[in-house]
């Protein structure tokens, strides 16, 4: 019994920083309608800054408590700067681009942290006055954890007072409900948005800072916390601080008890809870229904059409051109070309999911990685031939997509996007931690193609054939009744359901199809590289896919091809010049979002269309 109580208190203590981050995320979303992926970065910066300020690595040591507060304030200021310089420019942009831009910030901060603090873990000091442990029911319980347990409710109470008792809080609540009306009453949105962002960043920074005595500061804590925060927000409901409080306690307690019983069971428990909540209340425990926006429809583009004769010829010419490439190219160029084709396939599968099925995924890496791992595991553990391993990869990816899709088709818009990211991160951590099966971060080596496909030229042709075939099949699907059904659901759930389409069924299948094709790409990738590492499941792969699709224009049939080509080439070139390619990519992503909110092909395509119309109209 005593043990249960202690474990429960442990859970409460670790809920504190999760609550701070989730609350900030929720508040920011409520007013600005932006899901701030960079919120985990604020958290991480809070931790690193606290480390630096408390220890006085640069400048005077502030001491523990002033250092913690100063770190949170510094993060708040950074948040304000980010809002003023970047977000302000993109409030009018489609939701997806906003998400992508904040993703760019995540990438930039990751590399900046590496640059400034290096890759080593940093261990913070104990909190003065709260060192050591107290005796509780015969167990030793860290004093500092008692402080954390109190912190959660204190912040909740403070936020409650802030939102109920101050004019600022009332304005925030009003703007959360109806931004336009608040503006019509003279409420200055700009100032309100900036201040809300500052508050949210402060909370995240504080969350990162207060866990300094508890855990080492490290450079992957941003994605770890943001994934958990997304799960919290999905369970608790976007825009609800109390919901975030409840859900972070639920999640932290699941972790606290799960770890004792059987660590792997924690994941299952989290999923079960999420499943139950989503089935009963799709907008989370305390969420508002109006926040369940459809993200994909935020992109104003003409509907997808079968490609024109000219476009078809271009694609055809491209395939022909590739077919003669081995005559002139050396092995390195061939392997680069093979990799690009694989990512073209990956991007096409993602476009199928986002553009055609209307489900925005920030975790498409899950399918790609499962495809790669499926193939690799089959070879490692069953000694299967390439052909069989290849099928196993596709099978595992499809299966994974069926599981993930089951949850996701119950959500829409940003909730869906957040959940896909959470799933992909979970898949990543399974691959990363399950040494016995996946080899952990040592990966799986020796995933080579069969003897007949071992030469770079043959493998190049194999990839070309598979990619072309997949392209043809996916196009067939898009313009088949199933594809129309998918698009009907994307455009109007009500109308689709009125004509007898079972939306969830159709979308679920669409999710699985997209996953299977991403799995094809992943399996090819495994054989190209001859090895598989957890990286194939990691966030950057998902982001790459997104950037490719968005660059190309989400509703342009050939968009992903152009996007993947441009982006992958860019990445390969950059990576050969600098180790900090994430920084550069982040800057490029942000630049592109600010400059071309319709995507490259969309941008030039629209201009081209306008030009053609002008020509036709001029005498």
């Amino acid at each position: 019994m005593a043990f249960v109580v202690i474990q429960f208190l442990n859970g409460l203590a670790s809920a504190a920083d999760l609550f701070l981050v989730s609350a900030g995320l929720s508040i920011i979303f409520g007013v600005t309608r932006i899901v701030n992926f960079a919120h985990g970065s604020f958290y991480m910066l809070g931790a690193y800054l606290a480390f630096t300020l408390v220890e006085g690595v640069v400048g005077p040591a502030l001491g523990f408590w002033p250092g913690i507060v100063a770190a949170a304030v510094a993060v708040a200021i950074l948040g304000g700067l980010l809002e003023v310089t970047l977000l302000r420019r993109i409030y009018q942009a489609p939701e997806l681009f906003q998400l992508l831009a904040t993703f760019g910030v995540v990438l930039i901060v990751q590399d900046l942290v590496l640059l400034v603090w290096g890759p080593e873990d940093r261990i913070g000091p104990r909190a003065p006055g709260l060192e050591g442990a107290v005796s509780l029911l015969g167990h030793q319980f860290p004093r500092y954890d008692l402080f954390l347990i109190a912190l959660g409710p204190i912040v909740l109470g403070a936020l409650f007072l802030l939102f109920r008792r101050t004019r600022w809080g009332i304005l925030v609540r009003a703007a959360t409900q109806d931004r336009e009306m608040a503006a019509a009453l003279g409420v200055n949105e700009r100032w309100l948005f900036t201040s809300v962002f500052v508050l949210g960043a402060f909370l995240a920074g504080l969350g990162g800072a207060v866990q300094l005595p508890r855990e080492a500061v490290h450079h992957t804590m941003d994605l770890e916390i943001i994934v958990e925060a997304f799960v919290v927000v999905v369970i608790g409901g976007l825009g609800s601080v109390t919901g975030a409080f409840l859900a972070s306690i639920i999640l932290a307690e699941l972790n606290a008890f799960g770890i004792v019983i059987f660590p792997e069971v924690t994941l299952v428990l989290v999923f079960l809870v999420m499943a139950v909540v989503l089935v009963i209340r799709p907008t989370g425990l305390l969420g508002r229904p109006e926040f369940a926006i459809r993200a994909a429809s935020g992109v104003a583009e003409p509907p997808i059409t079968p490609q024109s004769e000219a476009a078809r010829n271009w694609v055809f010419a491209g395939v022909l051109g590739l077919a003669v490439l081995p005559v002139v190219a050396d092995a390195y160029v061939l392997s680069v070309a093979t990799e690009i084709m694989i990512f073209v396939l990956f991007a096409i599968s993602l476009q199928f999911l986002m553009g055609i099925s209307g489900m925005v995924s920030f975790g498409h890496a899950a399918s790609f990685g499962l495809g790669a791992y499926g193939a690799a595991l089959m070879i490692k553990h069953a000694g299967a031939p390439m052909e069989l391993a290849f099928l196993a990869g596709i099978g595992l990816a499809a299966l994974g997509a069926l599981v993930i899709g089951w949850f996701c088709v119950r959500l829409t818009g940003v909730y869906l996007a957040m959940l896909t990211l959470a799933f992909a991160q979970i898949a990543w951590s399974v691959a990363f931690q399950w040494y016995g099966v996946t080899g952990g971060d040592n990966g799986i080596l020796g995933v080579w193609p069969a003897a007949w496909a071992a030469s770079p030229i043959v493998f190049f042709y194999l990839t070309l054939a598979v990619t072309t075939l997949a392209l043809v099949i996916l196009r067939r699907i898009i313009f088949a009744p199933f594809g129309f059904g998918l698009r009907a659901c994307r455009d109007s759930v009500l109308r689709a359901e009125a004509i007898g389409i079972d939306r969830r069924q159709v979308q679920w299948l669409g999710f699985a199809v997209a996953g299977a094709f991403a799995g094809v790409a992943g399996a090819l990738y495994a054989f190209l590289k001859g090895s598989v590492f957890p990286d194939v499941l990691a966030v950057p792969v998902s982001v790459d896919g997104l950037v490719m699709v968005l660059l190309g224009g989400i509703q342009r049939l050939n968009g992903p091809i152009v996007g993947a080509l441009v982006y992958k080439l860019l990445q390969i070139v950059l990576a050969s010049y600098t180790d900090y390619w994430r920084l550069v990519i982040g800057v490029i992503i942000i630049g592109l979002v600010v400059a071309f909110p319709q995507g490259i092909v969309g941008f030039f395509g629209t201009r081209l269309d306008a030009l053609l119309v002008q020509r036709r109209n001029s005498p």
Binding site: I170, A174, E180, A183, L185, G186, E189
Partner: protein, 234 residues
């Protein structure tokens, strides 16, 4: 406060809704903007305060061009807007709703306090701490006007304030608006209720299919039955 609207055009997507709408509102005057359902009354008011994204033309407030000013700035310049669909903050209490609308007193405009507004709309007084989502439609209509008045506007645009209200309440409302007029507020009143418009309007503008089709004094309008038959009868 003087409001001048010059050749205002507005679009929703590709559909043009307003065609060269021009209006003039002199200081202390009540202009009734009349028109059938869908004629473009609400669109006109929304365009003036900048809530319609695509628009062209010129809107001048006391000599200041506010055509492309942000909505909040327009409100802060002293132009109050009461939307047709009320847009009460249902999650906030009645008192909090009023607080959202509060602005500093403006020279040359009546200064309102919560207390003086409760005097103008007595029903609201007892409801002060109730969530605004839980009060009746008529009470919400009072609240939405009171909320805008908290900004101490010098000019006021009311979009069909009588819609959906019982005759007795409309009468009460008419009295309240008259009080405002007497205090020197310029009022642009979009209405379908001819009775209310006649009772308080000085001049009339009639809009049909996004175009102004008649402009004149209330007397001219009332004296010529054909006008209302042509543009207003359904």
């Amino acid at each position: 406060m003087r409001l001048e609207v010059h050749k205002l055009c507005a679009f929703y997507g590709r559909a043009q809704i307003l065609f060269d709408v021009s209006l003039k509102l002199e200081r202390g005057e009540v202009v009734a903007l009349l028109g059938r359902n869908g004629a473009g009354k609400s669109t006109t008011l929304k365009s003036i305060v900048g809530l319609v994204e695509q628009r062209s033309g010129r809107v001048v407030l006391d000599g200041r061009d506010i055509t492309y000013a942000p909505t909040a700035h327009i409100a802060r310049a002293g132009l109050g807007y009461v939307p047709e669909d009320r847009r009460i903050f249902t999650e906030l209490t009645v008192a909090e709703n009023l607080l959202v609308g509060r602005q500093a007193p403006r020279p040359g405009a009546p200064a309102w306090t919560e207390k003086s507004l409760f005097h103008l709309f007595p029903n609201l007084a007892e409801l002060s701490d109730r969530p605004a989502g839980e009060i009746s439609g008529g009470e919400q209509q009072m609240l939405t006007i009171a909320r805008t008045l908290m900004g101490n506007p010098a000019a006021l645009m009311l979009d069909e304030p009588s819609e959906g209200l019982a005759p007795l309440i409309v009468e009460q409302l008419g009295k309240a608006i008259l009080t405002l007029k007497q205090q020197g507020l310029s009022i642009l009143l979009s209405e379908q209720n001819l009775h209310l418009a006649r009772a308080i309007g000085d001049r009339v503008s009639i809009i049909e299919k996004g175009r102004i089709r008649f402009e004149g004094t209330m007397a001219e309008f009332a004296g010529d039955q054909t006008i209302s038959r042509m543009f207003l009868a359904v």
